[in-house]
């Protein structure tokens, strides 16, 4: 309603009533009473094409307006400007107290700014304004004459459809039946949930007396729903793939150490943690030493995390695990002990609290594919990264001498030893590589989850789940299991909520392992167990 009032006043102004800025009324902007403040913003918005008013509106939307003593001012860097005239005040008053708008006032101010810009001569400015209004218009009906005027002037092929849409949204409340009908038809081509929300009330005879229009609105909603359903499913599959890629990164290292070498490494989660802390350390280093390249710390963190985690893993293997090969129970206990040692070490080094790892600018935000489908960059990057790591592991296992040795030792240790494979060294190296890959997983996790000393604990169960489900000793199994679990979990979450989904997935795995203990893919061939 308040928006309506303000827009009506805006409309009145468009009829030629230009109000100058009255300093006494401006003071109302700093009022504690919401209604007074709102009226002040509306008056200001009504004077929207006055340059003084525009400057003040712009300053308001940037939170740059402040009160200094009894005077309303605009703070621009070091300078303090008078709010009414824009003249610099000298000497600048001390401690101006900034006034802030709440969400509804901010929407009002932004709407007023965008509406005026629709008539600008600068194409880029018109386009931004039109898009801003489309994303966030609220009650648009009183703006209709303005849209019509803008539409009549507009020649640009990109801006015009947006204006048609805006005008159609605003025309839904028009008293003219033909106009309303046309508006509903124009909107049927949209794929936006917001438009659907606008059309929904029209189905009710209380809001829309015309039968023909109600039917038309119903058809339009169906058309929009069909488009939304498609992008909804696409979105769900993407979230599933994204979760799958994270599971894969977490589990890939384990697929080598447990799957291929048979070491039940309970400290695997802590190797992820080591990788994540490496990313944190690189971030700190870049912030301190190369602040101009801080956005690229993630790239530097990738090799660092790999080598640090690999070093920790090899140290573990040399000092503890090597002595326990073939004794799975003791390995389990010893590595669990190691995990506690690593957690405590992280606490001592970095403190017990979580540390902040920021997404670099190029990994923030998302790419908008459809009105209701935007894919976040950080997740896209992680999906690509997991593909890259997978490729590396596959190349390493299948195309290098080391990979061949690892496979040979796995399949038949005594025979491999007989033909001259240095089995002990291969064990250490393979364990190091598995650990290093866990470190890479840690870097990816640092971009989406919390980094803290016990972050690894949350991933150890998931990692084992993936490896066991996929079939021990199979990289391809791990890939399918991770993606499958990711997508299944996400569909279950959408249907039953996160808590139930987790339970259902675990129940499913229990049943699956009972029916098929060897996992999705079993190793075939003759080899010594």
């Amino acid at each position: 309603m308040k928006r309506l009032l303000f827009l009506i006043s805006l409309y009145l102004w468009a009829g030629g009533v230009a109000a100058a800025l009255d300093p006494a009324r401006l003071k109302d902007l700093a009022s504690d009473d919401f209604d007074v403040k709102q009226a002040a913003v509306a008056t200001l918005a009504a004077a929207g094409d006055d340059t003084d008013a525009q400057r003040l509106l712009k300053a308001l939307s940037e939170d740059a307006v402040a009160v200094a003593g009894e005077r309303l001012v605009i703070v621009a860097g070091d300078q303090v400007l008078d709010a009414a005239t824009g003249a610099a005040i000298k000497p600048a008053p001390a401690n101006p107290e900034s006034i802030n708008l709440n969400n509804s006032l901010r929407q009002q101010v932004d709407g007023a700014l965008a509406a005026v810009r629709l008539l600008s001569t600068d194409r880029a400015e018109r386009l931004t304004a039109a898009r801003a209004l489309l994303a966030d218009m609220g009650e648009g009906a009183p703006l209709l004459p303005l849209f019509d005027k803008a539409l009549a002037q507009e020649q640009d092929r990109e801006i015009k459809p947006i204006l048609v849409q805006l005008a159609a949204q605003a025309a839904l409340g028009s008293p003219d039946v033909a106009r309303r009908l046309q508006a509903v038809r124009d909107l049927a081509g949209s794929g936006s949930p917001a438009v659907k929300a606008l059309l929904l009330p029209l189905l009710d005879p209380a809001n829309e007396p015309e039968e023909k229009l109600r039917l038309e609105a119903g058809t339009a909603i169906k058309a929009i729903d069909a488009r939304l359903a498609w992008s909804d499913t696409a979105g769900q599959i993407f979230t599933g793939i994204s979760l799958g890629s994270i599971l894969l990164l977490a589990a890939l290292g384990l697929a080598i150490t447990y799957g291929v070498m048979g070491v039940i490494n309970m400290a695997h989660g802590e190797l992820l943690m080591v990788g994540a802390y490496s990313a944190y350390a690189m971030q700190a280093l870049f912030r301190a030493k190369f602040p101009e390249f801080v956005d690229y710390y993630v790239l530097a963190a990738v090799p660092v995390a790999f080598f640090v985690a690999a070093a920790v893993g090899m140290l573990m293997e040399r000092t503890v695990i090597r002595h326990l090969y073939g004794r799975p129970l003791e390995t389990l206990l010893a590595t669990w002990g190691l995990s506690l040692v690593l957690i405590q070490a992280a606490r001592l080094l970095f403190g017990a609290q979580n540390v902040e790892v920021a997404n670099p600018a190029w990994m923030s935000g998302g790419v908008q594919l459809a009105e209701n489908l935007s894919l976040p960059w950080n997740r896209l990057v992680i999906v690509a990264f997991s593909g890259f790591v997978l490729l590396l592991v596959w190349l390493m296992m299948n195309k290098t001498r080391l990979g061949m040795f690892v496979r040979a030792v796995t399949q038949n240790r005594p025979m491999a030893g007989c033909v001259g494979v240095p089995t002990a060294r291969i064990d250490t190296l393979a364990f190091g590589i598995g650990s290093g890959i866990a470190g890479l997983g840690g870097v990816a996790l640092s971009q989406i989850a919390n980094v803290g000393p016990d972050m690894g604990q949350g991933y150890i169960v998931d990692s084992f789940m993936v490896v066991v489900l996929g079939g021990v000793g199979q990289l391809a199994g791990a890939v399918w299991a991770a993606l499958g679990l990711g997508i299944v979990t996400k569909f279950l979450e959408g249907w039953a909520g996160a808590v139930i989904a987790k339970i259902l997935v675990l129940v499913f795995i229990i049943i699956f392992i009972q029916k098929r203990p060897q996992g999705l893919f079993a190793l075939k061939g003759r080899f010594v167990d």
Binding site: K2, D136, L200, S242, N354, P376, E493, V499
Partner: protein, 419 residues
Amino acid sequence: MQNRRSFVKAAVLSASIAAIGGLSSSAWAADTIKVGILHSLSGTMAISETALKETALMTIEEINAKGGVLGKKLEPVVVDPASDWPKFAEKARQLLSQDKVAVTFGCWTSVSRKSVLPVYKELNGLLFYPVQYEGEELEKNVFYTGAAPNQQAIPAVEYLMSKEGGSAKRFVLLGTDYVYPRTTNKILRAFLKSKGVADADIMEEYTPFGHSDYQTIIAKIKKFAGEGKKTAVISTINGDSNVPFYKELGNAGLKAKDVPVVAFSVGEEELRGVDAKPLVGHLAAWNYFMSVKNPENDKFIKMYRDWAKKAKLPKADTVVTNDPMEATYVGIHMWAQAVEKAKSTDTDKVIAAMAGQTFKAPSGFTLKMDETNHHLHKPVFIGEIKADGQFNVVWKTKGPIRAQPWSPFIPGNEGKQKL
């Protein structure tokens, strides 16, 4: 082994003394008064609770610098229950029967408070709980210095429904899966129904502690919001899950103008770990904000900043204060006043002396401990997140309001409204 035996002995001994003689364990105090601090310094809750430990230590030092209480210095005993709920009970028992503390300041999550309650009742200890919670509880041995639902959750929802707050018509109740969010959402659902909101316009979602993948939930919220009518999200997510939640919210482009999120467990401290720019305009409801301007608050902030430097806290130059820290600060001071009034640290005498205590709090109001219900009278503020992680107060009550620990919106509580 020796330790455990003496521990059991001590527990049995103090329990029997408490039972037979009616004496509290605090009567054993010597030339210092021991004060227990029971906050998680590791695990999922450390993000929130560590600052409360620091606040408690700072306040104790402040009181000691002024001569202590009853002429004795306060001696803090800090333990770390590590976000592990059964461990809270274990550590509480240790504080009461081994260290013989006169009072404990501690707990954040309701599940941890529920876990220590039997211990405080059994050993007749005294616990000050500094965090907003779901109500439905009133224990003789506990003083609640945080908000009850009518001092935080209900005003926040009323604000969202008001013209000023955007006239929301549909609500997503999103929380971590444990007693506080579940009970709060039960109260809110009943409240919304009383305001004529249909069941179809309320969506309830829970996630486990430490949940870090909010993609599906955000997608669901978007879909729910797209079905006409203004939608608002009420978040009772606790602990470090808030960081991935807000990150995802920012990445998914869900703006406060379209779907405002009001949080009951997110304050200045939690926002230190996130880039606040995409979150501008989302809301939080508390009884104190760091951005509140008054001399008490300036003093409080300065004291904490100095403390942070002295204690060499990580990132000491950017430390912030928040609502539960203020509640801890108020609680310790009120307890000290009550001990002075009772001229004893005996649990029952202090409980009697607590009734009606007042304290000029950093929120800018003089808070009063209610005469009967062990809750503070508190003002309510609603703030919008600013780009620097601080809050811009957009709404507040005229003065402190009395707590209703037994929400009138839960059936069966009708007879308890006088409490």
